[in-house]
Amino acid sequence: MPQILVQELSKSYLVSEREAGTWGAAKGLLRRRRRVIEALKGISFSLERGELLGFIGPNGAGKSTTIKILSGILRPSSGRCEIRGLVPWRDRIRHVAGIGVVFGQRSQLWWDLPVIEGFELLRDIYRVEDADYRKSLDAMVSLMRLERILDQPVRQLSLGQRMRCEIAAAMLHRPAILFLDEPTIGLDAPSKLAVREFVASLNRDAGVTVILTTHDMHDIEALAQRVIVIGNGVILADTSFERLRAEVLTERRLFIDFAGEAPALEIPNVRVRGREGNSIELAFDPRQVPAPELIGRLTAKYDLLDFHLEQPRIEEVIAHFYNLHGATEA
């Protein structure tokens, strides 16, 4: 039995809507129009202990809804979910005692309390023994570099400092499973790196199972062995990141600087993506046109000053993938 099992999970919301303007508002008084939004339309996956899963998809795809169901906050409309043998929404209290959750856009620490008191509150809420608490606290403080901010009230922390505290707070009771919903949102580069490093070490050294949602593909590239792409409430792909890239966008980009004016190029299966003065950008599929061959042909014919080869950026890969599946938000 896998640690996390999700089968045919569906969730629909009822939303009220009304036409714009005064007339629409007046009509809304008499009759409310309601529409069912299907946030999840039957998703299934399973996760073994110690896996690190990246969960990506455009806004409104159903990522957060999935996390909220998995963490016992929401009830699904239908489907099955078992985590360590417990049904999250039914056995909520026992279930949540063994998981840690961070919502990047929210704060779980009390605003006016110093960080350390917020941690002590969580220690008592999770009924953590003093000795265990000491150990986790020391580990978190050194890993997340918290020594100097422990006595500050949460409201006075920068976003990066707060997020480090939030993640530490979610780990004080040593959960076996960690759900991170956009933990790097709005963070600067060093803070992002710190968060990634920390998550990686929790997963690698402590064997914590992690599910991570993010819009930052570098998080995924740096962390996730496995990626699930979700769009419009269905799973579009469940694979490794490299496989995803290979399947979606194999294209390469060749940037060339010519000695003189960039020539008009007509090569089969090679597209000119842009040109500017002496420079030109070509796009091609290496399976049709191997890169060495293309470069060979160009150097034979023209006088090249410089060239370099690139893969499309990860964001581009993903955007392309979303477009292929018509998965961008309405």
Binding site: R92, F103, W110, L113, D124, I125, R127
Partner: protein, 274 residues
């Protein structure tokens, strides 16, 4: 002990946190002095113009007024501001992640919130109405001491029961807030009940005689009328004990009902956005 530790800690932390807000306590105290004098003057004028026999003396009425001002923060007419804020922003999600019974988690917080707000305000109000008012030459308008030692002890018990009762009523407003996603509706519904039926505007003994049995046994009487009448000796012996018992009974009813409503509300919970 391990089972209730979380709730005790939540109470302790919120209590300590609320005590920090000194400016709010001072401002509240100032307003309550002002309103206290106005109410006292209304009673003085009323007693001077009426020759009929009244159910309470002027001195008792004045004591009743000052007690009302001292313990105003214990009246449950709004949602717990923290809960209202969490419902609005969706941070309620985090409270559902705690391995706690959400009802008692919030109940402990409501109790701490009320008790911590009431404590400095009532200390200042007692000092003011017992000591400062006579020094200003208005001895007749002062807050008098409890009528007997027995009354004082019963009053202390009644105030403890009131914190429990009042927190259970705040939880009703909190739940209204969860269901409607705003604290306004439930607050607007609660305010007139609290003000009129507790005896906060007009002490309940001044209502018509035929209403008295009903007034004594409805849940809001425990917020003002029962404890204050115990204080000045208007309710003594078994009647005072009956008053305490009705407060506890209502607390239990409200807690059980609230607990069930909370489970139902949480099953329908939707938290949108990330």
């Amino acid at each position: 002990m391990m089972r209730i530790r979380p709730y005790l800690t939540v109470f302790r932390m919120r209590f300590a946190l609320m005590l920090q807000y000194r400016a709010a306590a001072l401002a509240g105290f100032g307003t309550q002095c002002w309103w206290g004098f106005i109410k006292v003057m209304v009673f003085a004028a009323f007693f001077r113009s009426s020759i009929a026999h009244q159910p309470m003396s002027l001195a008792q009425s004045i004591t009743y007024v000052w007690l009302g001002q001292a313990f105003l923060a214990l009246l449950p007419w709004t949602a717990d501001p923290d809960i209202a804020e969490m419902v609005r922003t969706g941070n309620v999600a985090y409270d559902r992640l705690r391995p706690l019974d959400t009802y008692f988690f919030w109940y402990a917080r409501a109790m701490a919130w009320m008790a911590a707000r009431a404590l400095p305000r009532c200390a200042m109000m007692f000092a003011f109405a017992c000591l400062v008012v006579p020094l200003l030459g208005m001895g007749a308008w002062r807050l008098r001491m409890p009528s007997s030692l027995e009354s004082a002890a019963l009053f202390a018990a009644a105030m403890a029961a009131e914190v429990l009762l009042s927190s259970a009523l705040v939880m009703i407003v909190n739940l209204g807030c969860v269901v409607t996603l705003s604290d306004r509706g439930a607050t607007t519904l609660m305010v007139p009940f609290v003000l009129v039926l507790s005896g906060s505007i007009v002490p309940l003994p001044f209502f018509p005689n035929w209403m008295q049995p009903f007034l004594f046994f409805q849940p809001f009487a425990g917020l003002v009328d029962i404890p204050y009448r115990i204080y000045f000796g208007g309710l003594t012996g078994w009647i005072a004990i009956a008053g305490l018992a009705q407060m506890l009974a209502w607390t239990i009813v409200l807690v059980l009902g609230g607990h069930r409503t909370m489970s139902a509300a949480m099953n329908r919970l939707q938290v949108q956005g990330s």
